[in-house]
């Protein structure tokens, strides 16, 4: 029964979601909305489980004074402080919760995102090294697209932006579409395997 119930539920809802896409009747559109609402409810409970496991994990490391336990302490304190602030004065504009969010969380996230600029540079250095013919083609295409996207490109030659657009819209798009077709077919086949119960690893059974 422990295996059968999830498989039956997966099959019923999988088929329903597939069929409802083609049926405009309210019986199905309403059903679809219901399923989306249920997902939100399930997610809230899953989030509670996640928060609980988060707290227990960090508390255990703090209590055992494991290596770098101070970071675990900061994580737990951060979680508790935000919950307290949220319940105390709400999360509306001007609240302490939003102040902490805007002045700590957002700058920290922006900092992490900014790292991308440096990583793009180091990855581009490795990717664009002209080791063989393919690398040379990649290097030329890359330089062309970079130049075509900045005013300097047009200054060097009026045709460079046009060439960059051609690279993006023709060969690059063709390759992307090829990969997208593969991904689409892979997604459909995987979904079918899951719906009919051939693929059951997500239940913990291979």
């Amino acid at each position: 029964m422990r295996r059968q119930i999830p498989i039956v539920v997966c099959f019923v809802f999988g088929i329903f979601m597939l069929v409802q896409f083609f049926v405009p009747h309210p019986l199905f559109t309403r059903g679809y909305q219901n399923v989306l609402d249920w997902m939100q409810i399930i997610f809230v409970f899953a989030l509670l489980v996640g928060a609980l496991s988060f707290i227990l994990l960090h508390l255990e490391k703090i209590s055992k004074r494991q290596k770098d336990w101070v970071y675990n302490l900061i994580a737990v304190v951060g979680l508790v402080v935000m919950v307290v602030l949220g319940f105390w004065k709400g999360i509306q504009k001007g609240s302490p919760f939003l102040w902490v969010f805007d002045n700590l969380q957002v700058p920290m996230q922006s900092t992490m995102f900014s790292l991308l600029a440096f990583f793009v540079a180091s990855a581009a250095y490795r990717g664009f090294r002209a080791r063989n013919f393919q690398s040379v083609v990649l290097l030329i295409a890359g330089v062309l697209v970079i130049l075509g996207r900045v005013p300097l490109g047009e200054l060097l030659h009026a045709k460079i932006p046009e060439a960059a657009t051609w690279v993006l819209n023709i060969p690059s798009m063709a390759a992307r579409r090829g990969i997208l077709i593969g991904i689409g077919l892979g997604s459909i086949a995987t979904s079918l395997r899951i719906i009919v119960g051939i693929e059951r690893t997500y239940l913990g059974k291979g």
């Binding site: 029964m1 059968q4 119930i5 039956v8 539920v9 896409f21 083609f22 049926v23 405009p24 009747h25 309210p26 019986l27 309403r30 059903g31 219901n34 399930i42 997610f43 899953a46 989030l47 489980v49 996640g50 928060a51 496991s53 988060f54 994990l57 255990e60 770098d68 920290m108 996230q109 992490m112 995102f113 991308l116 990583f119 793009v120 180091s122 990855a123 581009a124 490795r126 990969i179 997208l180 077709i181 593969g182 991904i183 077919l185 892979g186 997604s187 459909i188 086949a189 995987t190 979904s191 079918l192 395997r193 899951i194 051939i198 693929e199 690893t201 997500y202 913990g204 059974k205 291979g206």
Partner: protein, 284 residues
């Protein structure tokens, strides 16, 4: 039989609610004719995939081409074992309802079984609490299947945060502190893909990545040792388990690709000659 229908009782409120809606409905169409082309495409896909699944089941096994990224899984696990370092697995930002996350969990099942045999630590920080629960269950069962249930450490599979860059910061921190010998980035990734892969590269980890995002694939290709491109990512579970039914569905995908390729060529030629009938037909 009674037991088999028991789960359907839970769906009773949905059926009651939907029947009431149906009785009060103004829209009475049961099929949207604008989606005919799509329906035909889906039906052909279903027929081909299931046809090949049954053929494969009957035949025993089917051969599929070698995928270097998946061939390297043994090397990745062996490397971590030899170095006495952990393996880091990330399914990215995907939630459980995404097919890429499902595919990621399928790969995790096979990889965890190999890892259990070598008793190598496996760290899985998660973005989504539901994925955490599923990952714990998948790894636990895999360790049990490998005959090492005692090696399963649930504390190594945990929920981190639902903040995209908070998750990146956490995983980067884990990489820099624990220095995993192998990083497996398999799932849904967005702007964080390159930050994760480059950090992994900086610590010298062997990295295998796979995702359903074409934009992020290019970042993984330059920063990782092996990348599962396109359908390779979805074929991974069948490739690793050699399950004939899964392999059959992968063959079905290949035949569909062939059909699509032929249609693209035919459409291109006919359009060039001024006949737009095929495009009109497929566009419906």
């Amino acid at each position: 039989m009674k037991g088999k229908f028991c789960p359907l009782i839970f769906l009773l409120p949905l059926f009651v609610s939907l029947t009431r809606t149906a009785l009060a409905a103004e829209e009475t169409r049961w099929f949207d004719p604008q989606k005919t082309g799509l329906l035909v495409g889906i039906l052909i896909t279903i027929l081909l995939v299931f046809g090949l699944i049954f053929y494969s089941k009957k035949k025993g096994s089917l051969k599929i081409r070698s995928i270097p990224g998946l061939e390297a899984m043994d090397e990745a696990v062996g490397r971590a074992t030899e170095m006495g370092k952990p393996i880091l697995f990330s399914s990215g930002l995907g939630k459980m309802e995404r097919v890429a996350t499902m595919a990621s969990m399928n790969i995790l099942g096979s990889v965890a079984e190999k890892i259990a045999e070598y008793n190598t630590p496996l760290i899985i920080p998660n973005y989504d609490p539901m994925v955490t629960t599923v990952a714990q269950e998948v790894v636990k069962e895999s360790f049990a299947r490998a005959g090492h249930p005692e090696s399963f450490k649930p504390e190594n599979i945990y929920f981190v945060t639902q903040s995209q860059f908070g998750y990146v910061a956490a995983v980067d921190g884990i990489m820099l502190r624990e220095k995993p010998a192998t990083n497996l980035f398999l799932g849904t990734f967005e702007a964080e893909s390159l930050i994760l892969a480059e950090t992994g590269n900086s610590i010298g980890a062997l990295q295998i990545a796979g995702t359903d995002s074409t934009i992020q694939l290019s970042f993984f290709i330059v920063a990782c040792d092996y990348t599962l491109i396109g359908e390779e990512f979805f074929a991974a579970s069948g490739y690793l388990t050699k399950d004939p039914m899964v392999l059959g569905s992968i063959k079905g995908q290949d035949f569909l690709k062939l059909i699509i390729g032929l249609l693209i060529i035919a459409g291109g030629i006919l359009s060039t000659l001024g006949f737009g009938h095929l495009i009109d037909l497929l566009g419906k």
